[in-house]
Point group: C2
Chain length 226, copies 2
DNA sequence: ATTCAGTTTAACTAAATGGTTAGCTGAACC
DNA sequence: GGTTCAGCTAACCATTTAGTTAAACTGAAT
């Protein structure tokens, strides 16, 4: 029992959650083991006892999140018929992963920034599988003619970039808003699901084959405000 | 003379360049002052003498880059008539800034990840001006009817996100490619100018008003490969 | 020769960091 | 009663870190 409990008073769980927030906020090198232990209300030695050193801590958090994302993507796309459905399901699932693990987007952005220099190989390989899922949907659409011939790598980076920045951009947007006193509400402030829809809408608009009849288009309605 | 020289043997210039690379690679907290001094081939005390402490170093680098970007955006958009021209010029200029200051995209991604927590106010304000430039183009297009009614904040985050990730994604793409042995070439591996065009193409496709005649569309041609 | 601002250096400090150790506790088990 | 053992703690350690100091060098003006 002691090994598998997932409740909030499981010290291991607490450590991982606190560490994820710390890594997201300050990066791997900026996060402080002492501070993580303190915030998780455990003695520092317990952190090493329950999880391992800083590298293991980091790898564990990333793997946990990515495995979760992969499992959900597989489940969500199992019944997808069209490429559009598949792309929307995949992107929505990634966005939902970011919602449930709020450290996900910041960590990915940091890894992008450092070129994955600190990414353990095991994590790298699973990340590639996530990338592959998006690319599969794109290539399926290209093959079937549902999408126009498209550069899958560039399009994937495009989707990943806009999605991650929209998801992680909340705090910085809030800071800018303070300076500009523009109290408007934007799609960017909506739920991850809405953000995923927005990204898919714009991208699908670009992926549609040139001659596709208008009637086929389906746009997720999103209230617009001035 | 000694104060304003910009050549490579100006120690201040060398320090700033090396530090920019270090901050981009490891983040503010991960970058090491000793290492920066060593790589710039100056005594550490010289770094403090010529530039200042780590915060000043960071702020100087960011401000330098952003001021440069702002000046170039102003110059590039001065003659823009249509909103599309203006948007393309702005985005292309930002991409070109990233080309000329290779640390720019990673630094921005990191700041996004941390919510701008470590951004000095002065930098924050100038960044806002860059954001404003993109948003101005979007709002001009919406007002003139050139673009459909669009969420300027979300669209801007969309553009910034895809652009930054495409620009900074080279190294991680290379690492993934090693694992997947997919030696394909993608738009993502082209020049910043091509990347900017690609982003603008996809976004403009989404911004086009629904009833716009096909003839008005202009797509930058980009070789497609399988 | 002296002065003097600008520049450079090696050596230093105080604090923080990641990681370890030896030992305590209390329940389970014989 | 004694042993075991996962869970836990306080104190410690070696190293690294950002930042400082005081002394010295340089080269031109006086």
């Amino acid at each position: 029992m002691a090994r598998t409990q997932k409740s909030a008073d499981d010290p291991r769980r607490r450590i991982l959650d606190v560490a994820a927030a710390a890594f997201a906020a300050s990066g791997f090198e900026g996060a402080r083991v002492d501070q993580i232990a303190k915030r998780a209300a455990v003695n520092k030695a317990m952190l090493y006892y329950h999880v391992g050193d800083k590298d293991v801590l980091y790898e564990t958090i990333l793997l946990e999140t990515i495995e979760d994302a992969l499992a959900r993507i597989a489940a969500a796309t199992a019944s997808s018929k069209t490429a559009e459905d598949r792309l929307r399901s995949t992107v929505a699932t990634i966005a939902d992963t970011a919602r449930r693990h709020s450290h996900f987007a910041p960590l990915m952005l940091r890894e992008l920034a450092s070129g994955g220099a600190t990414l353990p190989d095991r994590v790298m390989q699973r990340m590639r599988d996530v990338f592959q899922a998006v690319r599969d949907a794109l290539e399926q659409g290209t093959r079937s003619g549902e999408f126009r011939a498209v550069d899958p790598v560039a399009t994937h980076m495009f989707i990943a970039g806009s999605l991650l920045v929209l998801l992680a951009g909340g705090p910085i947007r809030r800071r800018i808003r303070q300076l500009t006193d523009v109290p408007k509400v934007s799609v960017a402030d909506r739920s991850p699901a809405d953000i995923a829809s927005f990204v898919c809408d714009v991208v699908l608009e670009g992926l549609r084959p040139p001659a596709a009849p208008r009637a086929l288009r389906r746009r997720t309605p999103l209230k617009k405000k001035n």
